[in-house]
Symmetry: D5
Subunit: 129 residues, 10 copies
């Protein structure tokens, strides 16, 4: 039995398939459903788990790259929440763009991990180096 | 979009298929893998989510029935932890039996929800009325 | 066993996958078949179940959004029937458009629940907030 | 488009596969789930549709045979309900046996149609001539 | 066991999925194969069964609509054969168009029932009301 | 396009897989459904096609072997019908046994071709040389 | 067990699906792989079987139509080889076109039978009448 | 493109899965069909290809082991044929046993390659070292 | 993109499913094929990769447990090779048993990782704590 | 059991399907994931196995053709590494093009073998003669 790290078989399989220039969506509970994107749904009820918990699980073993979020995230969340997401991104270059532009990236993603997060516009797209 | 309750499609589908006398396993992170049992794996890392979070999500809309746990759970956990599981079971009749007897129930289950819980012997089998 | 709410596994799974801006079609018995849309067929014979029964099952746990129907619905049904559908929509903003426009929305839907309803043009498209 | 009779593709397909000596289960909402039996789940919420609605749909085009129910059905339902089920069986020979014996027939069934019926022990097994 | 009507599970399932404006192809033995169209192949050898036998099975429980055939059918068959197809169509509005136009309808069909019929251009497309 | 012989892809595929000592069931419309046996369902309505039509299609290119039927076939059919089946078997050694013994052979068959035949006990099991 | 003709289940199934205007590719060992075309791969090693053996198996029961080959076949093979292919085509109208044009036909084919043949440009496309 | 050796993807995949103590059946055209055994069917018509052609393709790159055949092979074939099979086995230890014992080995095989061979009892089971 | 650790999606998925008391087989190139066991085949040619490379990849993040090998491994390998395997097992309790007993464990394993290793009896079964 | 050459069933199957003009990608560990391309993932950890090991396995039995690499490979690797790749290509005509042009070839490939190689731009596309 493995000791540490992510223990979910589907999440691990997906992470091994995100490589150079590939993107991965970490979505909140209400983010639209994309039938054509491979989805790992970890949600239980609203609030469990959070996007930050998923970032905390993935990023310690993640190689550089960028993170995208919707500009609307900044407008709809207070400083504490914004700081928490920034910290969770562990120094990745963060780009904020319109929610529409953000959603245009989804069809090109390798996969999407859905959480139960209720943060407004609390979705993050990781682009691998 | 639904307002409240469980938001995970696979968990909801599974719950609708647990009926009279059927059983459902809520397993901790380390509980053996049972390839022949339909499994919803909600685990992310150790500790996320917990078995109690799953019970809290399911039992408010759950009809009576029983709950089974391993006797070893009592021996390996302090009173606080034991009380927390009892409270989470919301008055269901709880039966403690040997871990071996407990595991003999698994092959007859309709499904298993795996968590990241690290509570020793923190597995619960719900038997529907 | 769950106590209340929708007891159908496929309907529950589908509802959990309708999120921000996603749409869901509730169709009468004669609405065209769309092979490319995930379909839950609840119909038995003409009249069982009705579109209103499905709305009554879904909307108590449904977050705002809009409802679309064909304009032809108004022309082909009396006031009682129109009032019944309005009541069933529980205050959702209702938009009536041509049947052709209505059908153009279907290919973008997350899923379709087919009933046995015989109300003329008795189809409703729910758009999630 | 067909004019009359059962309009559900899966129900129709199943009925065409029930032949000499084959059996078909019409189950209430709470009847145990049998993963190994082909199941058409028509349930929406408790009460929709009923077992009698399914019998009314099937039996007008059904050739003789028998119907089995649990003895417990008689003990737990009043005369009106009993008469309704009898009428719905349209003269089929009805046999009442213990719920345990009744359930032993299920694994041999060709299929099971699940309803939302809440009648106590309101399950019927049709055995084809 | 059902008493009368179509006894083939696949044909029945297909018919239940042909609804408003949907089309169904009844093809002779030599009509081109369309891999992308759901096909029920009832053919045994040339001549068994015929397109008219399929029409006779379907149309008694079929709601209005139209029937399309190739103009070439008229040129290649005598009056008796033409009358037989007309009778089999039971008063449906029949439209004759070029074989090319006729074949352009096929990719939009819900399904195709293949027979062993050897009538020249003996293919019929049913369009549901 | 092939000129003569069986034109049904599934029937042809099945026939190529019936070899030394393998058996093939040709069943009437009402013969029990065997979910575990590969089945080609050629039935349309009662009477179409017949078991004899299937035998006439298969046996001209069939190497010796035996044919089994139920003894009850003899009791329930007149001489004309019996003679027709005998002729259709084209000199194969025919063995009549109890319907129960006959049905015990089915689970060992390579496949089953279902017809719409209504001849009482009109089922034939071909055993390849 | 069938007496004569093609004994391969997949080849027989494919042939029954090649009808009016449909095409079938008989390919040599080195012909490009077309993942989107249903392929029956009969090859063992180079030289086994040959394209001519496949033509000899198919064409005795084949209705008219045309055969296409690449012009390059003529340039790269001696008279004996050319005569052998012509003989194998049994009077079908043969058209030679550039290898590029030839390959443009492949995506429209119903299927492809791959051989182990090593004849240069030894591929044949049969077009059914 | 590979230069030499077996060019069939399925045969190559199967050979890579035959390892220590595993067995592989090379069957003639009439050998019974075993639905539960992974089968590569290379047969075209009777005689193409032969069992010896398959042995010639496999054994040059085959590590020791044994070969089993039915004793009946010896009784039903002349010396030339026997010698040809022996030569094809390239020094493998050959064991002849009753056809019944031979067939008892089949359900344990990793796979079966079917040929069109017509040699009486011309089946060989290779047991890997 | 992940930085370190196992980069193979299937291996990672399998490891996440090996839990309390579950077993995992690391097999050499020639170990028998077990069709019923989920297999990740990492082999390329003999010698690539080795069992020790797989152990080195897995065990740094592996929780206690035991390792089983065949006694024959000791008899057929020199001290250097034995020491290398022991070192690779990183202090796991190692048990040597007969190759027959060893193979009896395989059908109970969660999965098998096949290597190209050529070490005699170089197979290891890891049993999770 | 085969003696020499590639022992991986999936790799062998893929190689048999790369023919005239078809292409095969040998990718390093970080090369983007292409969900639509059939992928054999041989990677274990970074460095195991290498692209050169795969070339060494494939090219001894490979017929001519070309090899493509990214120009960036030359810029990012020293002479030793460049020489090693050249040697591994065994005289194939090697073409260096921009990484972008290189990646444009991937969607047309028959398959992709992923390694654990960490060589910068260490990807090779083999084009078959």
């Amino acid at each position: 039995m493995i000791i540490q790290g992510i223990v979910n078989p589907h999440v691990q399989s997906l992470l091994c398939r995100v490589r150079h220039t590939n993107t991965l969506v970490i979505a909140d509970a209400a983010f639209p459903f994309w039938p054509q994107i491979e989805t790992v749904d970890l949600s239980l009820v609203r609030g469990i788990p959070t996007v930050i918990q998923v970032l905390d699980a993935i990023l310690p073993n993640w190689k550089g790259g960028e993170a995208f979020m919707a500009e609307e995230f900044t407008a709809h969340n207070d400083r504490t929440q914004q700081a928490a997401f920034k910290r969770a991104c562990r120094g990745l270059k963060m780009t904020f763009e319109s929610h529409l532009e953000f959603k245009n990236r989804v069809p090109h993603a390798i996969g999407l991990i859905r959480t139960g997060d209720t943060t407004a516009y609390g979705n993050v797209i990781l682009v691998s180096v």
